[in-house]
Symmetry: C2
């Protein structure tokens, strides 16, 4: 069965690039959507990936995709979704990887989000026919980006339907070294975003770079 | 150096019993404080622990202790702290292990706590000279209670001072199979409590009993 086309929005950042490259290597047709398509062409050319990665404007990327990965900063979610909302394919899957991290006086925290989590914030801003899953929030962007580094950890996924969780889990499992751990409804995204905060806190406090999670007993 | 005396409040529950037994085996002088000291004597006798574990009323247990482990249900925190507040030794360490779990329609969640977390709720209810650390929130109570089971996981600790975190970390490290991971100030307790929620969700969804966490890359 052909793998569904994936659009990575924010694909020129570390997190988005890592996901774009790793999913392309796994055989997914990947298009990087950017506000500045010419810059995206230059950036993607520099990666010298063995697999083809297309580039497009954000609108075109979303129109072509069955899966849309939101790898943009949390602050960019609202304007981005406002502009692309009419373009989603029917039953498209939005994979939200954003985390509303804040650094106040050098101390990492999570911004309060009225909906409870970044993922529920996204859910409230896409059409009802679009499915939403939250994942790729805890695997370190730096490791994803260093495409030959072993990941060797678990990645948590939650979503508003079992099909959203299943399709997002397939993306996780396609990335070598990741195990998908389904934790249930989208309301669990807040807990996943707290894991990211803990990983950031552990990195800073213990002078490491790639703290990540493995579930024991599963 | 002699290990500090530890009072476990709620020591007749699964979580409290596991902690009392494992800390006694590690050489800590342990007293189980109970609202019903006669029942506590009967319960502790049944454990047939190789190490002595004393019993006392909650007030006596707190008066004697340098470390007070709150292994009571979250709902019991307010009345318990109201009654014992005047009895804490100077610079006593309160180790909060409570998690405000809720089950609404069979779905696990966390109760909203005005202070942000159970641990900060505790902090707001003890005298200023008492130190507070949050830990032992994610190691499964069932495994702690099965005293010969290997734990083989990380336990997260946060606290309001470096001495609180250090002293709480010593308790963690004394328990065979646990590694202490210091995640910083007490405000991180909310993230730790979300980890507990995720572990509960993983247990239910994947039909396992003892999901727990290990940090990779540390």
């Amino acid at each position: 069965m052909a793998l569904p086309p994936v659009a990575v929005l924010g694909g020129t950042g570390q997190h988005g690039r890592g996901l774009a490259c790793r999913l392309a290597r796994a055989g997914y047709p990947v298009v990087v959507g950017s506000r500045d398509p010419l810059r995206a062409v230059r950036v993607v050319d520099e990666w010298r990936e063995p697999c083809p990665i297309a580039t497009a404007s954000i609108l075109e990327a979303v129109q072509r995709a069955a899966v849309v990965v939101l790898a943009i900063p949390f602050d960019a979610v609202d304007p981005t979704l406002r502009s692309v909302s009419p373009c989603f394919a029917h039953e498209a899957l939005v994979v939200d990887v954003t985390v509303p991290l804040t650094f106040v006086g050098g101390v990492a925290g999570l911004a309060r989000v009225a909906e409870g989590s970044a993922a529920e914030h996204v859910k409230a801003r896409v059409p009802a026919h679009v499915r939403v899953a939250a994942t790729f929030k805890t695997v370190p962007a730096r490791l994803l980006h260093a495409a030959d580094s072993p990941l060797d950890c678990d990645e948590f996924v939650c979503g508003d339907s079992s099909s959203a969780r299943t399709d997002a889990s397939a993306l996780i499992t396609a990335v070598s070294g990741l195990r998908a751990v389904d934790v249930g409804p989208l309301s669990r995204a807040q807990a996943i975003e707290h894991l990211t905060l803990l990983a950031v806190a552990i990195n800073r406090r213990h002078h490491v770079h790639d703290a990540r999670f493995r579930i024991v007993g599963l």
